[in-house]
């Protein structure tokens, strides 16, 4: 019996490794090629950093990068804030239609991007007349990033011992000060986690941004897309590496903050 288990384990291990290879190989390739001397960025010809240097001096890229950063920055702050208070409201309050609300909050993340993108485009141009560009993009990003924050923070809340809140009230703190001194600090890890997860989501977003950005508001992903018809290029490789690195850093930051948070909040 034990032997069977070990065989099964080995087989699963092989399958798992293969799956990981499948998921990572293309990106590893890109990362490698971003350091390659090859003009087309499609094969290896010696190590070089020149593409990264070129990236920094490329005006279009700088422009798009700045725009992406600003949008992501604003989105993170707003979406995290909305996510926090929404999670609080959803957890504490009970009312008819709560299920419906919870499901509706899921919609922006689950719908295909073309649907939300096109719907928002039509909405912005035909109904409310929000200028296409920063306003439209930021609003759109907030719309599909807030739900993420809601669920991350809500998840953390469900593992709380809310007796702390009662204790604080009992000891003389008003609800506001309770949140300030007790609940808030406890939620901080989750809030940070959602911020660090929303940032890559907003930064990397293409489809929805493409729909609502209009002319002249190029974010980095849109720039990448416009370069795509040239096939593989070193520029895209470097940008791609940048994207992946941002995501990895974000994930690492989340992981470490969770670890620290767990230490402080275990009782």
């Amino acid at each position: 019996m034990k032997k069977k288990k070990r065989i099964a384990q080995k087989i699963l291990w092989v399958l798992s490794i293969l799956t990981l290879v499948f998921l990572w190989a293309p990106m590893i390739l890109i990362i490698v090629f971003s350091f390659s001397n090859n003009k087309y960025g499609s094969s290896w010809e010696g190590f070089t950093l020149k593409w990264y240097v070129k990236l920094l001096s490329n005006d279009q890229v700088r422009d798009a990068l700045t725009r992406s950063l600003i949008i992501a920055g604003v989105t993170v702050v707003v979406a995290t804030f909305i996510g926090t208070i929404t999670a609080y409201g959803l957890y504490k309050l009970n009312f008819r239609g709560k299920q419906f609300l919870r499901t509706s909050i899921l919609l922006p993340i689950v719908f295909p991007s073309v649907v939300t993108g096109s719907a928002l485009l039509v909405f912005f141009t035909r109904l409310i007349h929000i200028p296409l560009g920063y306003p439209s993009i930021i609003i759109a990003h907030i719309v599909f990033c807030s739900p993420l924050a809601v669920f991350i923070i809500l998840g953390r809340m469900q593992r709380f011992d809310w007796a702390w809140e009662e204790a604080a009230l009992d000891l003389g703190a008003t609800p506001f000060r309770t949140f300030l001194r007790v609940t808030g600090p406890q939620l901080l890890p989750a809030i940070m986690a959602s911020a660090m997860l929303i940032f890559p989501w907003s930064f990397d977003d293409f489809v929805i941004t493409y729909f609502v950005s209009g002319v002249g508001s190029t974010t980095l992903p849109i720039y990448v897309f416009s370069q795509l018809r040239f096939g593989a290029t070193p520029v895209i490789n470097t940008i791609g590496t940048l994207f992946v690195t941002i995501t990895m850093l974000g994930m690492l930051a989340v992981y470490f903050s969770q670890k620290m948070g767990n230490k402080k909040s275990s009782t």
Binding site: A163, A168, L171, A173, R181, Q186, T267
Partner: protein, 380 residues
Amino acid sequence: MSGSDTQNAGQQQAVCLEIRDVVKQFPGVTAVDHISLEIEEGEIFSFLGPSGCGKSTLLRVVAGLENQDQGDVLIAGKVVNDLPPYKRDCSTVFQSHALFPHMTVADNIGFGLVERKIPKAEIKKRVQAKVDLVNMGGMEDRFPHQLSGGQMQRVALARSLVLEPTVLLLDEPLAALDRKLRKEMQVELKRIQREVGTTFLNVTHDQKEALSLSDRIAVMKDGVLLQIGTPNEIYETPRTRFVASFMGASNIFVGSVVDSADGNITFKTEDGLKVTLPIPADGAVDQISGFSVHPELVELQPGGTDALPTGPAADVLLAGVIKEIFYLGDFSEISVQLNDADIKLTVYISRSCGEAEAKMTQGQAVVARFPAESMNILVG
């Protein structure tokens, strides 16, 4: 184990907490059903009852963490119904102690003082005083996750006491501790209370804890107050069948009064046993639902298979056979099967008993006797 100095019937103690006809309902259940009582300054008062009897709910109503549907709560003479918990002059020690994990022991204890905007130097002084009071010196900079259960409870206590509340509310504070620790903490609690003199309102389901800790006890069941009294009163003379059995009485006879004559009443148990006893002082004969006898008050006389005298007598005599003898060291527990009814009488025989009793064996015929006054009338 019995009452303490503060329990003086004649002396007028200030009432620091009054609960007036409070009702609290939840969907489908009435947790607190018209309860009224007064708690005196400086006493340790316990709500005792099984889970779900409403004691915790009542405590939370006093604290302001729940709002009652009806009735008033008065702390130090002031009605506090509309005051939120942070404005009431009472402080709660929670069962899960609820210490703030991200704050040190010192910060936890000082939490309420910060809310009262007391200057930092003063806070430090008071916190230190309470740290010493609960014997947590040297641990001020520790975090809750570095403390043991007993230590956390002490910090919680200090945190509430430092605010010098009129009433300190304790919600089963020792329930999460293991037995040995619980006993130690009981002693600690009593010592601390005597030192600071604050009124303690304690909620517990543990009879022994209530008996050893409290100056007065209120026994509750299903949201209703069954009996209030000193530990002595509750234990020696429980008023209802529930209180009797909850306090661990083992000889409870259930039945009703069937006859009354000559200042005596005849009580017949469900199993047909007939006992005669004098009419109780308050004369409420129809509410009598049973009686109890403490095992240590029953005497056993060997022999005697003759019929019992049926007339009124100073003692109740019941013939039976010894079923089981449990030797427990300082006393023996003897189970006697009565002849006239399917009842097993529990009798405690102490070590210092007579020779005849010491030699009793299983299967021996005996007569159990106890004075009528030692019978405790039960109602309800």
